[in-house]
């Protein structure tokens, strides 16, 4: 089952920054780029599970705060030569609010 959930007003997510969204035991990092595009990925670095939301956002990437792996916010893939991928979620902005698409089976897979 798919549903869109309201996350927060766009202006409560800092540009080149992120917020943590918690849903049923999993953490999702919701990131805002310089041009106000919003991306959401599972908040765990594929390396050692570092909280990606706490990293530095640049371009369309996030540098993990733990060991500086560079993760693409677009597809969740680690930048070469590192290998790994974290799950991505669809987002949209409507009337100044950020929405996140949650799919139940997907969330189940990610639960700890």
């Amino acid at each position: 089952m798919t549903h869109w959930v309201k996350v927060a007003p766009l202006n409560e997510i800092p540009a080149l920054g992120a917020r943590i969204v918690r849903s049923k035991g999993i953490e999702i990092g919701v990131f805002r780029l310089e041009d106000d595009r919003i991306f959401a990925i599972n908040n765990q670095c594929p390396h050692k599970g570092g909280p990606l939301s706490e990293g530095i956002v640049y371009g369309d990437k996030i540098a993990c705060p733990m060991h500086s792996w560079k993760i693409s916010l677009i597809d969740g893939k680690a930048e070469e030569p590192d290998v790994g991928q974290t799950a991505c979620f669809n987002t949209k902005v409507e009337n100044g609010f950020v929405y996140l698409e949650l799919k139940d089976p997907e969330l189940k897979d990610l639960e700890l």
């Binding site: 959930v5 996350v7 371009g59 540098a63």
Partner: protein
């Protein structure tokens, strides 16, 4: 756009590789090479001749690589005409290609002595795979080889031919071998070693002519004898001329491009025709043509940025060092190793042990040197030479190498060669020497950055970078170009730290977007390396005016707490001078209970650490604690560690605790290039460990001693004595001025020890001790920068609405 590259060698293809890295989609690329092979590593031909490697081993870019990158490759295709008006190049057989940009990388050819007999069969240069194959083939059928020229290439050829089984005589017109790389002493030692390997030498001989045999069935004459100007004749079935190279510029000249002993280029590698660039051995840059690989790579990098239309990067010439690739012979030379009446020399010579080292010094700096027999410190000396580092402080030990400086950490330069493949190099990422060597060889890596990227070695704490560099140097031999320490801040810009800071000052940039725009940053909003550095440079250059950007700070500084491995944080409140009260302790205990803090620990800096705190609890804890932030997360003032001092201690000569409290209060909230730790001890027993702090203060009966540049971290460094002062206020002024100059001049992420290492303690002393006006002014600037700064915890507690980041959203 269309880019045509004439020359499929190391310089041309390196430029293409650099270009693909930064502008992969910009050009349709066509490459013409007159050899039948894809790009190979020309500097490794000598190991091929010496049976140590095969031709396949030295291919750098396979045909598949060209195909993968959509590069059209023509081999066996020599361009003989450039039509600049219509922008077309033509090969000898009429193939043509149009260009918008043309890159000439035509390389060089061996210089052949203009003597009778130079065109006989069996008289060759030493330049490419074809020459190498001819030498190997000749060795199977003939006996006597003569190599004309006792330079690097000649000796490598002679060594290879000997291994292939020939009798080899090296003819050289000078008094000793490698006169461009070695002085007489080292040259003679080299000759002795090579004679022991079975080579023969004829020195101070000029070749007059080469005499041919009777013609064979095809009417071709093979060389038989070489005659010298003094009448001596020797048998010669193969003559290899290795007396130098001449840039290939005939093609460019015929197209009307200005040449002068090479294709003349400016600092952007552009020729007389703005659409045409040139790199490599064919070039004359500021009147110099380089025949070594390291400068070619530097040129390639610069040229690529201009081809990519970034319009940045200048090539300003290269300082080169050389190494002879003859197994079992270690020599290294760089710079001016001859010296003159204005220079000093330090020489170590052990004739029996086969070791000779000479360094030439001018104005307290190494300007050149020769190492023979033991070259392990070559790259260390060369680095100091390139950086122009002052050496008087280590002069006594200089000759004995970097190991003699008493490093107790595991920086470990010089040990690379002795390590076996299983030994760990990078402790952070668990990378062994063998992994690094394999990556360098298999993936054709040439730079530290490549190795870091591919293997992760040296990419975390950085303490093993020196060792990685040694491994790179010893694996690549002459192909290694050591980076200058004034390297670019990161891949987003070509400017180095000093240039960035100078421009921030000159143009008064007050925020990151303006600074990036003004300095033509390549990326829209930088990267995780440059943004924190820029943020610091802005704040330290323009206190109270520049805008702090929280998104350009590492998480710890952004949320004023230390992130832990599980994503929780630690909270360390300020306790000035390490002194606390029962009230504070009760409060801390209550907070620890209320928030169920998993661990309470005393830190190395004499503070109390509450570990395992959830991000959303940080604000609540700070509010309940009602104590200032301890800045335990900051690249800035950390703690002032103190001993008990004269108030209680029976040995104490000074009130060290009060001094520590005063310092910590005076410099509270201070950001710096890296963390700054202080300690104050009340007597020379030094219980606060002042000897390993950025600023260590030791009370003595008559005043206070100030030590600087200590470090107890990765590599233990004892702090060095700066001065002794009488009173309390002087301690603040001197140590404050020291820290302020460090804040203004050190590179971001330099600890005080790294900064002092680079500028020299003499410089620091001059600024602090000799220039009393300057010292007072620096101290004033520090106090000004710290004026009115508020505690970050209290600020967040009082303005919760502005700091939504701390709240987790639940859906």
């Amino acid at each position: 756009m269309k880019l045509v590259v004439v020359g499929n060698g190391m310089a041309g293809m390196r430029t293409v590789e650099e270009l693909l890295k930064i502008a992969p989609e910009l050009y349709d690329i066509t490459v013409f090479g007159d050899e039948p092979y894809p790009n190979y590593n020309r500097i490794m031909l000598s190991p091929v001749l010496a049976n140590e490697q095969t031709v396949d081993d030295i291919i750098l870019n396979t045909r598949e690589w060209y195909a993968e990158h959509n590069i059209t490759l023509y081999t066996n295709a020599r361009i003989n005409k450039i039509d600049r008006k219509n922008r077309v190049v033509y090969t000898e057989d009429g193939t043509s290609a149009e260009y918008d940009r043309l890159l000439l990388a035509t390389g060089s050819k061996p210089f052949m002595l203009p003597i009778p007999g130079k065109d006989l069969e069996g008289v060759i240069g030493y330049r490419d795979i074809k020459d190498t194959n001819e030498m190997i083939a000749t060795a199977k059928t003939h006996k006597h080889a003569v190599v004309i020229g006792g330079g690097l290439l000649g000796l490598e050829a002679a060594n290879g031919l000997k291994i292939q089984g020939m009798e080899v005589t090296v003819v050289h017109k000078n008094e000793w071998l490698l006169e461009k790389q070695l002085d007489k002493t080292a040259g003679k030692m080299l000759q002795k070693n090579l004679e022991a390997k079975g080579l023969n030498f004829l020195l101070q001989k000029n070749t007059e002519l080469l005499i041919g045999d009777t013609p064979d069935a095809n009417g071709k004459c093979r060389v038989k004898t070489a005659r010298f100007t003094d009448g001596l004749e020797i048998a010669a079935d193969l003559v290899v001329m290795a007396i130098g190279i001449r840039p290939n510029f005939a093609l460019a000249e015929s197209a009307g491009i200005y040449c002068n002993k090479g294709i003349v280029v400016n600092d952007t590698m552009q020729t007389y025709d703005p659409r045409i660039y040139a790199v490599g051995e064919c070039v004359a840059h500021r009147g110099i043509s380089y025949g070594l690989v390291a400068p070619l790579f530097e040129m390639a990098k610069v040229c690529a940025t201009h081809l990519a239309n970034f319009g940045i990067g200048l090539y300003k010439g290269s300082v080169t060092s050389t190494k002879l690739k003859v197994t079992g012979i270690d020599l290294f030379s760089a710079g001016d190793f001859t010296g003159d009446s204005d220079t000093e020399e330090i020489v170590l010579h052990d004739a029996v042990g086969g070791i000779y080292k000479k360094l030439v010094i001018k104005n307290d700096k190494i300007i050149g040197g020769v190492l023979y027999g033991d070259t392990t410190d070559g790259s260390w000396y060369f680095q100091m030479l390139r950086d122009g580092k002052a050496i008087h402080e280590i002069r006594d030990h200089l000759m004995f190498g970097q190991d003699s400086l008493g490093n107790t950490g595991h920086q470990g330069q010089n040990k690379a060669a002795a390590m076996n493949n299983e030994m760990e190099v990078c402790g952070c990422n668990g990378v062994c020497k063998g992994t690094i060597v394999k990556a360098i060889q298999d993936q054709g890596l040439f730079t530290i950055d490549d190795v870091k990227k591919q293997t992760k070695a040296g990419s975390s704490c950085g303490s093993c970078v020196g060792l990685v560099e040694q491994i790179l140097a010893s694996t690549l031999g002459g192909g290694y170009a050591p980076p200058s320490t004034s390297k670019a801040i990161c891949g987003c810009s070509d400017k180095n730290h000093e240039e960035v800071r100078a421009e921030i000052r000159a143009h008064k940039y007050l925020n990151i977007p303006d600074a990036m725009k003004g300095m033509a940053w390549r990326t829209p909003n930088g990267c995780a390396t440059c943004r924190p550095a820029l943020n610091y440079y802005l704040l330290s250059s323009w206190p109270h005016e520049a805008v702090d950007d929280p998104q350009s700070r590492f998480i710890n500084e952004r949320v004023h707490a230390n992130i832990q491995k599980d994503g929780t944080f630690s909270v360390i409140p300020r306790m000035y001078g390490g002194v606390t009260t029962p009230d504070q302790l009760r409060k801390i205990a209550d907070v620890a209970d209320k928030y169920a803090v998993p661990m309470v620990k005393v830190t190395g800096g004499q503070r109390i650490d509450l570990l395992g705190v959830k991000k959303e609890d940080l604000m609540g804890m700070w509010k309940d604690l009602d104590m200032p932030s301890g800045y335990a997360y900051a690249k800035g003032i950390r703690t002032v560690k103190t001993c008990v001092g004269s108030e209680f201690c029976r040995f104490g000569t000074q009130n060290s605790t009060q001094m520590g409290i005063d310092i910590e209060k005076a410099f509270d909230h201070m950001w710096a290039p890296h963390k700054v730790k202080f300690a104050v001890s009340g007597c020379p027993r030094n219980c606060a460990e002042s000897g390993i702090k950025d600023v260590g203060i030791i009370g003595v009966d008559s005043g206070w001693e100030i030590y600087v540049g200590g470090n107890g971290g990765i590599k233990t460094e004892a702090a060095q004595f700066l001065c002794k002062v009488k009173g309390h206020d002087e301690v603040l002024e001197y140590s404050g001025a020291f820290i302020q100059i460090y804040r203004e001049e050190a590179r971001y992420l330099d600890r005080t020890v790294h900064w002092i290492e680079r500028v020299g303690l003499e410089y620091v002393k001059q600024r602090i001790l000799e220039d009393s006006e300057g010292r007072k002014a620096a101290y004033e600037r520090l106090l000004f920068a710290l004026q009115g700064v508020v505690d970050p915890w209290a600020e967040r507690v009082n303005n919760r609405d502005k700091h939504k980041e701390f709240e987790t959203i639940s859906v």
